[in-house]
């Protein structure tokens, strides 16, 4: 096995172009497990750890450009205000040791339906900055997940960063696992309120071949909030609305039975999470100052 250690981003891109089968390694918290399990034995590894800019982020006026290798622990510590959904998701990942190494780039690279960053990225409307020697393209998160552990990256591309809109309203992430820490999701749900656009977005994890949005549920809730004048009044949506939202979220999933849980339970649990996260985010929305200047 060859081990390529580019010293700079340009070198990394050149190496990936020259050896498209070389597998990038960032925190290694997914990849080393796969190697250990003998699930894959790449010919070459492309070590990204010398490229410091991958561990940095820039906060712009409306977006955060999050370097692919910013560890979860940094997201939790420093980006809780700007990216509350992702910060909450980061906190549910693994253990402190893993959170100190793993990051969103690796989660996207693996593109497991159980990756915890995905529901938060879907709910916030992130874009992935994919770069190769050929140039840079921005991939909408909605177009990124192609199948079980398959993503939209070309063989010569690397993820440079993820661009996330700064939260304009409350966001929540919740995941079900049969242990109270350090557990892979049985199912997970992310919800983001976007008061600036008066929309909501969702993300479902571990309950379909890829991370997915519950679009019908989003449309339903967006309409219900508008029709009821909730954005202005702050009044919580009626229980019947919450129940319908929950039903539609559960219906958006396409889960399977596996060792972690049954399909029926996953649907059931998603409904519960949808209802609860709606309650929490709406409560937070009411409590925060809703004047546009503060958005």
């Amino acid at each position: 096995m060859d081990f390529l250690r580019p010293a700079s981003w340009q070198e990394a891109l050149a190496a990936k172009a020259e050896y498209p089968t070389a597998v990038p390694i960032a925190g290694g918290t997914d990849l080393m497990v796969e190697i250990n399990f003998d699930h894959r034995r790449p010919d070459a590894l492309l070590d990204l750890n010398r490229i410091t800019e991958l561990r940095e982020w820039e906060t712009g006026r409306q977006t955060v450009r999050l370097g692919a290798s910013v560890p979860y622990s940094r997201i939790m510590e420093h980006l809780r205000a700007e990216l509350p959904g992702l910060a909450q998701a980061a906190h549910t990942v693994a253990s402190p040791q893993i959170r100190n190494r793993g990051g969103v780039g690796g989660n996207l690279g693996t593109a497991s339906p159980a990756g915890d960053a995905h529901p938060a990225l879907l709910a916030s409307g992130a874009r992935i900055e994919a770069v190769s020697v050929r140039g840079t393209r921005m991939i909408d998160v909605d177009d990124f997940y192609l199948g079980v552990k398959r993503n939209a990256l070309a063989p010569d591309e690397l993820i440079r960063a993820v661009h996330l809109p700064k939260a304009t309203g409350p966001q929540a992430f919740a995941k079900v696992g049969t242990r109270n820490a350090m557990v892979i999701a049985v199912c997970a749900f992310g919800l983001a309120l976007h008061p600036d656009r008066r929309t909501v977005r969702t993300g479902i994890g571990s309950a379909a071949p890829t991370p997915v949005r519950a679009r019908v549920a989003e449309d339903f809730l967006t309409a219900a909030l508008a029709d009821g004048g909730h954005w202005d009044s702050g009044r919580p949506p009626a229980p019947s609305v919450a129940a319908e939202f929950a039903r539609l979220v559960a219906g958006a999933a396409n889960p399977i039975d596996d060792v972690r849980g049954t399909a029926a339970y996953r649907r059931h649990a998603l409904g519960v999470l949808a209802r609860r996260t709606l309650g929490w985010t709406w409560q937070a929305y009411r409590e925060q100052d809703r004047s546009p200047a503060c958005a």
């Binding site: 906190h91 995941k175 242990r179 999470l273 929490w280 409590e287």
Partner: protein, 796 residues
């Protein structure tokens, strides 16, 4: 073999005083090393020029092995040897703890997923692994038996058609390893007197020991044609007895030394890499190291027997048990391992710590194509405890009685008789243990509520996963109590050996202890040194590495090592003390009348009278001479259970623990947070109170794991579906509740210092207490462990 009667401990009127002696929480020597990562485990061993061994395992649960082609593996550069069944050196090619039914390497048939088929030795572990992948094995899959119905069908494939073990003539189907009935009284007549009768069928999933240090060892070929084996195990001499014959070597040519053990819990009673490593070392003439990775480890050791338990209990309106009937079916998997003894335990302890005079009990273990099951902490008593404690709750509810009060009315006490007819002739404070856990204050409610706005999710079901902020959360409280036997039962000649040397070094008396007792993390070496300090009055005690140059210590299991090897050390120290006093009398007898008449003790490096008067310094008595004695120690003999009635003095000692569980359940999601799990246990004498509390807390958490998460999932194809810590979940610190421990010390006068084996009892009652609390919170019947969210939310 007739048991050599053991001289009872010479009873001193007053216990010797010793700093860091018996009864003190002496710090363990390996503690700091382990938490700082410096402790050398078996997997850390290294030898110049060593090779790495790798095991090729069967992907099928049941298949004929039509051919094995090793040519491609042998051709890999760096490979030194590839071995299959055909390469075994003698005609004895099977081993086993109780029955010689386990092939060293698959012999024409594989009977479970993960069975070893071939071995590779190479100069790098990766090379060995790749070479193993190139071994071409042609399998013809066979139908699998995976439960009672398929195993005992008339046309079921017989897994071991040529059985010659001593249980074989007595079973009605060859796929039954062993069956033990226990009958006493007249259950039919008693049932007629019952005002209420409750029945239930309970299921226990397959738990894994999940020790953190995977199976590892280093085999070094010796010039005399023998082999030196360094290995993490639970019982060196039992390994030796199984290893030597299949290597074709006399036992003295296989020299074993214990290496650093990272936990055991029963999972190292059976052999793993021992024979394989030796075979490769003897074949290649080079040292061979084998370390399982976690995946291999899940296939490399036996698990706790999954069980289906049917129970019927009756009681009068006054809340007294009339009778009990039960049928316990244990899945032994493909090989016998210790299944017969597990059956004996399950049968004899199936009534729990209760007085029931009329019983009809049947326990049996099956041969199936599931993974082999054998010893795990609690050993047959765990499965039974979950069932009978569930029944106790059900009966109490039926009678409208408080569950603790109902148990109290039926609790056994000293003098009570077990279903086997054995009288419990030592304290049995069952009611008192329950009373104590019940009397504890309950933990505060709604501990997740904080002064700030956001709840502390760590205190809620779901924990860090942020699934509830209090919605759907209901508290429940549950109780359970259990009974576990200590030591090896059913007439087994159970003994331990200790060699102790007392001499003077640098003017100070010092002692050296040599035993073969496996320190697996329980603190045995600490306890041995404490006993020597107390008995011989020396401060400096060296514990030698455990190896087979000294006699057997028996197994580090069955809660027995403090009793047995502790007892052997004490016993040997008593012999040394007598020699010291004889020397003293010879040297100084004339100087003081007390030498002839008084009871003399060794304290603080001196010979003293009971009143504390110093007669001589040990150094002067020894005068350059060393006293070196090796002795065996036996507990009192037991008897086999009668094959038809199960009657007999089968067990040495009993150990009791009770738990109260307080849980918070997210009733909508089915997630559980155990808030507190309090345990009261009688340990007879806490030789090292801190170590005892550690055992109680560890056992309690292992029982919690079985209650809510730990299970090896095996499909109907008998294949293991979750052989990794990704999906075999064990409790994290956030799943671990507050664990109040209340230790009783009611002496058992049959045992050294009155102590009672402590390691297993807390694993029993923990599980049913947690489930009882979940039932209280949810109202669900919950007849299966581990309880899954699906069961709590009633989703398919």
């Amino acid at each position: 073999m007739t048991a050599e009667p053991t001289r009872g401990p010479r009873r001193l009127t007053r216990a010797p005083r010793a700093a860091q002696g018996v009864g003190v929480s002496v710090a363990r020597p390996d503690g700091t090393l382990k938490v700082t990562g410096e402790f050398a485990y078996a997997s850390d061993m290294w030898h110049e020029d060593m090779l790495w061994g790798h095991t090729l395992r069967s992907p099928h649960a049941h298949a004929r092995v039509l051919s094995i082609d090793i040519a491609a593996a042998l051709a890999v550069p760096g490979v030194y040897a590839v071995l299959t069944h055909d390469d075994l050196p003698t005609s004895q090619t099977r081993y086993g703890l109780e029955c010689l039914d386990t092939p060293v390497l698959a012999d024409g048939v594989v009977r479970h997923h993960g069975e070893p088929v071939a071995l590779v030795a190479a100069d790098h572990p990766e090379t060995a692994r790749r070479a193993a992948a190139r071994i071409a094995v042609d399998y013809e899959p066979l139908p699998v038996v995976h439960d009672e119905a398929t195993a005992l069908a008339d046309d079921a494939p017989v897994l071991h058609p040529h059985r010659d073990d001593h249980h074989a003539p007595h079973v009605r189907h060859p796929n039954i390893v062993h069956r033990q009935p226990v009958r006493r009284g007249d259950p039919d007549a008693a049932a007629a007197r019952a005002d209420v009768i409750v029945t239930g069928t309970y299921t226990v999933g397959m738990q894994d020991q999940a020790f953190l240090g995977p199976e590892s060892g280093l085999a070094v070929p010796a010039e005399d044609g023998g082999v030196d084996l360094y290995v993490a195990t639970q019982w060196l001499h039992s390994d030796l007895r199984q290893i030597a014959p299949v290597l074709g070597l006399p036992e003295d040519k296989v020299r074993m030394t214990l290496s650093g053990v990272g936990g055991a819990f029963g999972g190292r009673e059976d052999l793993s890499m021992q024979i394989h490593g030796c075979l490769l070392a003897l074949r290649t003439g080079k040292p061979v190291k084998m370390v399982y990775d976690r995946f291999q480890s899940f296939f490399g050791h036996v698990h706790r027997h999954p069980a289906t338990l049917w129970y019927e209990h009756g009681a009068t309106r006054e809340g007294l048990l009339t009778h009990m009937r039960c049928r316990i079916v244990l899945d032994g998997g493909a090989y016998a391992s210790s299944s017969p003894a597990v059956v004996g335990n399950a049968a004899s302890l199936s009534a729990g710590p209760y007085v029931v005079d009329h019983v009809d009990i049947e326990a049996l273990a099956l041969y199936t194509n599931n993974p082999p099951c054998g010893a795990m902490r609690g050993f047959g008593a765990v499965q039974a405890c979950f069932a009978y404690e569930s029944q106790m709750d059900k009966l109490a509810a039926e009678l409208g009685l408080d569950p603790v009060e109902f148990r109290r009315r039926n609790a056994m006490s000293q003098g009570s008789r077990l279903p086997t007819g054995q009288v419990v002739d030592a304290p049995a404070p069952v009611a008192e243990l329950l009373r104590r856990v019940k009397a504890l204050p309950l933990p505060p409610e709604r501990q997740w509520e904080t002064a700030g706005a956001a709840p502390d999710v760590r205190a809620l079901p779901g924990g860090l996963s942020n699934t509830t902020h209090g919605e759907g959360v209901v508290r429940g409280v549950g109780y359970a109590v259990g009974i576990k036997n200590v030591g090896f039962s059913e007439g087994f000649d159970d003994y331990s050996t200790a060699r102790v040397r007392l001499e003077v070094a640098g003017g100070e008396p010092v002692a050296t202890v040599h035993t073969a007792a496996a320190e697996v993390g329980q603190g045995g070496v600490t306890v041995q040194a404490q006993i020597v300090r107390t008995e011989l009055g020396v401060q400096q005690v060296t514990i030698q590495p455990a190896d087979t140059r000294v006699g057997s210590a028996g197994s580090t299991s069955a809660s027995r090592q403090t009793y047995m090897t502790g007892g052997a050390v004490r016993h040997t120290c008593e012999a040394i003390r007598e020699r010291v006093l004889a020397l003293g009398r010879a040297r100084f007898g004339g100087t003081h009348p007390a030498w002839e008449h008084a009871e003399l003790l060794l304290e603080d490096g001196k010979v003293v009278t009971e009143a504390g008067e110093v007669l001589a310094a040990l150094a002067d008595v020894l005068d350059g001479q060393a006293i070196d004695i090796e002795q065996e120690f036996r507990h009192r003999p037991t008897q086999p259970f009668d094959r038809m009635t199960g009657q007999g003095f089968g067990h040495v000692q009993y150990s009791f623990a009770a738990h109260r569980a307080v849980v918070e359940v997210d009733t909508e999601l089915g997630l559980v947070k155990v808030v507190e799990l309090a345990c009261a246990q009688d340990v007879g004498k806490a030789v090292n109170p801190q170590a005892v509390a550690g055992q109680i807390q560890g056992g309690t958490v292992q029982g919690l794991g079985l209650a809510v998460m730990e299970e090896i999932l095996v499909g109907p194809d008998a294949k293991v579906r979750n052989p990794s810590f990704t999906d075999y979940l064990i409790p994290t610190i956030l799943d671990t509740p507050t664990l109040p421990v209340d230790i009783l010390e009611l002496a058992d006068h049959h045992a050294p210092y009155g102590l009672r084996g402590a390691g297993e009892a807390p694993t029993l009652s923990s599980t049913p207490a947690v489930v009882s609390a979940i039932r209280a919170a949810t109202g669900r019947a919950l007849t299966r462990v581990p309880v899954r969210p699906e069961h709590i939310t009633d989703t398919p």
